[in-house]
Symmetry: none
Subunit: 216 residues, 4 copies
DNA sequence: TATGAATGAGAGTTCATTCAT
DNA sequence: TATGAATGAACTCTCATTCAT
């Protein structure tokens, strides 16, 4: 009756690329909806696979969530490690470099959704929260606090309370990430992360500058 | 038919206080679990009422959530308005006052859970987010940005980019609130909000200080 | 437009009778389908409740299953205990009484479906099987083996191997129960449990009779 | 298109042995889990093939199940037929022989799992049940009942109700098979089928013995 | 012939919501 | 006003079955 029109195959075998695609879709849905409200149906749809396929790669929803976090932490950590190794010039330059790199590699990328996720689900996933706390927060603290302390020791910076100051240094960056995923839709022009960073660095430079360094 | 003999009531009538108790319980549960994972069973249990009773006061879960946000905004707004009206001395003093009051009245109170909720559930409640954005964020921005601009105009502050700087001024306070509800359980000693604020103000004062004001 | 015809209520509150009704429906469905193939949808339908209602009374499917077993055990055990206490006449009379009562109270009742369930699903529920083994099988063994041993000691019965004989005494009753729920539909006339028991007792009496008791 | 160069085969061809291995694995899994709870994944794993391969030999799960039953019936039937042909001496000897052979060839072999399966799935596979009923049960009945009737006619046995007695003769053997797959794990010493059979035969011999045969 | 990645229907379970009491 | 038993839709997860390779 009808011609033997070749049909497109119902699906393809793509065992290697699938998990990555799923993780990306999952990150997006989790960030938009939050862990509990995220439905695996939607994750599957966005990843272009069936619901059952998710379970070929991840044991369950919680494991998928953890995998999302974990993989993004790997990226995060790689960034951090790279940066820490680059302390070439003085400490202010290093601090500038670190914050700038972080802005470009994390704040402006999809990874910026992770803090929102951690925030929203900390109560329901204590072990994830602890993992994030140990692996990301504490490392970030060590990095920043170290720069501040060395800068103070070198007479570059004023003697600020570094136990608290590290949090103040990163606060605007964290807020940027959250802002982006929360209020972005209501601001027509969007966030200008570069300009935001410049302003932060400007305030910070004057805030940290020692009397000795005022001459420059 | 029968005489109107006063019977001991089978339930306590507490029509006025009930909703308030429910709202408090709901805030706590929402903050702990997030909107979606929060169960009305638990809200009811903590409020000491039955699940059905919740529906006498709130149409549904979303309305209860909105009511929680809305009522906290009332407190927030009152604080903000009160503070804004008190600008007695110079702008630095006003800024200090505003941040200190906010720290005590919001950051250190249960209200600090609200931002976490908003940030965590923004994707599922656009109208709530918009409401919060208009009523809280924009007002906060107006308040802080105004102080900065007047300070700059008066020669008190350096000419910073106030479009961005207001967010940097707020960031550490927001971060404190989020930190408290996220990582507090993992830090034995807890956050010292006073000390945190002092450090922030210290950095900020030097960061904003104009050449003219350097004499002091 | 239409008359205000009173509608039958959508459901009724019957908190006390519900669990019993559910258990009866569950027993029937479990026996027909087996544990795994039994769907809670069907249990709910037969009990005349919604699926969700099942969870008001039983934590989950396994607990419902256990409750079915447990409740039937109560009857079983009570029968057994009552009978054991009544050993008035000689041991053959007691054995006759026990088997006859069991036939009427268990074999011929819906409870007869339980052994089929246990035997069919033992592999998936070790703890249920163990429970049944300890509470039902062992008690039955103690009861029957005790009668045999006392009969032998009294010279009523031949010296048979009681460690094995108790199982042989029980076997036809168990087989009846299984037969009833397995092959009954294929036999038009059905099983005559009375006649079956009579034949069993006839064979057993001669099989156990000692030389001394042959006179009668 | 291309020459038919013989390539080394990518997989071993074992077309003849494969189905048999699958059937054995399937019997084991079905007996352990029951039909519904048995997963084809596990059958495949135990048979050492992939899940897809199962479908090269069997249309679907139900057909695999039927094949398992069917093939075991063939074995069963072969046993039965062999035994029925051997009625050499008197009827008691024949009965003894039949029960002993059945014990060794069926009760003590993996085939003993079949009754459990039939039992558990009778409700879901009526045609299997009927098949088993016609081919196994009825034949067994004919065999045993025939022996009993000829023994009675020959004055060897008492005039028992053979319509029922055949089931009583079989019952302990059936129960042994079920016991083995149900309570075996809970009994450290395991079942002694020989001893069990001896006791059964002992009771049965006295139960069936006619006055005439008492002399021996 | 053989594989195993991919599918999708159906299961158990939860929970916001309703309503007889 | 207050209750909580009852509902049913929606979710996560499993697994028999299909099919590109």
């Amino acid at each position: 009756m009808t011609d033997d029109v070749p049909q497109p195959p119902r699906w393809q075998r793509r065992a290697e690329s699938r998990p990555q695609e799923v993780l990306e879709a999952a990150l997006a849905v989790f960030v938009e909806r939050g862990y509990t409200a995220a439905s695996l149906d939607e994750v599957a749809r966005r990843a272009g696979v069936s619901k059952g396929t998710l379970y070929l790669y991840f044991d369950n929803k919680a494991e998928l969530f953890k995998a999302v976090i974990r993989q993004s932490l790997v990226s995060n950590m790689d960034e951090a490690r790279t940066l820490a190794a680059q302390h070439s010039g003085d400490n202010w330059e290093l601090l500038t470099l670190v914050l700038r790199e972080f802005t470009h590699k994390v704040v402006m990328s999809p990874l910026s959704g992770i803090p929102k996720l951690i925030l929203g689900e900390a109560g329901n996933f204590p072990e994830i929260t602890r993992f994030y706390f140990d692996e990301v927060v504490q490392r970030g603290r060590t990095l920043i606090q170290g720069i501040l302390e060395r800068g103070i020791a070198a007479g570059e910076f004023r003697a600020v309370d570094t136990e608290e100051a590290w949090r103040i240094v990163i606060a605007p960056l964290v807020l940027s990430m959250l802002w982006k995923h929360t209020f972005q839709p209501f601001e027509p022009q969007g966030l200008d992360f570069e300009r935001h960073l410049r302003t932060h660095l400007d305030l910070l430079r004057h805030g940290l500058a020692s009397a000795a360094s005022h001459q420059e």
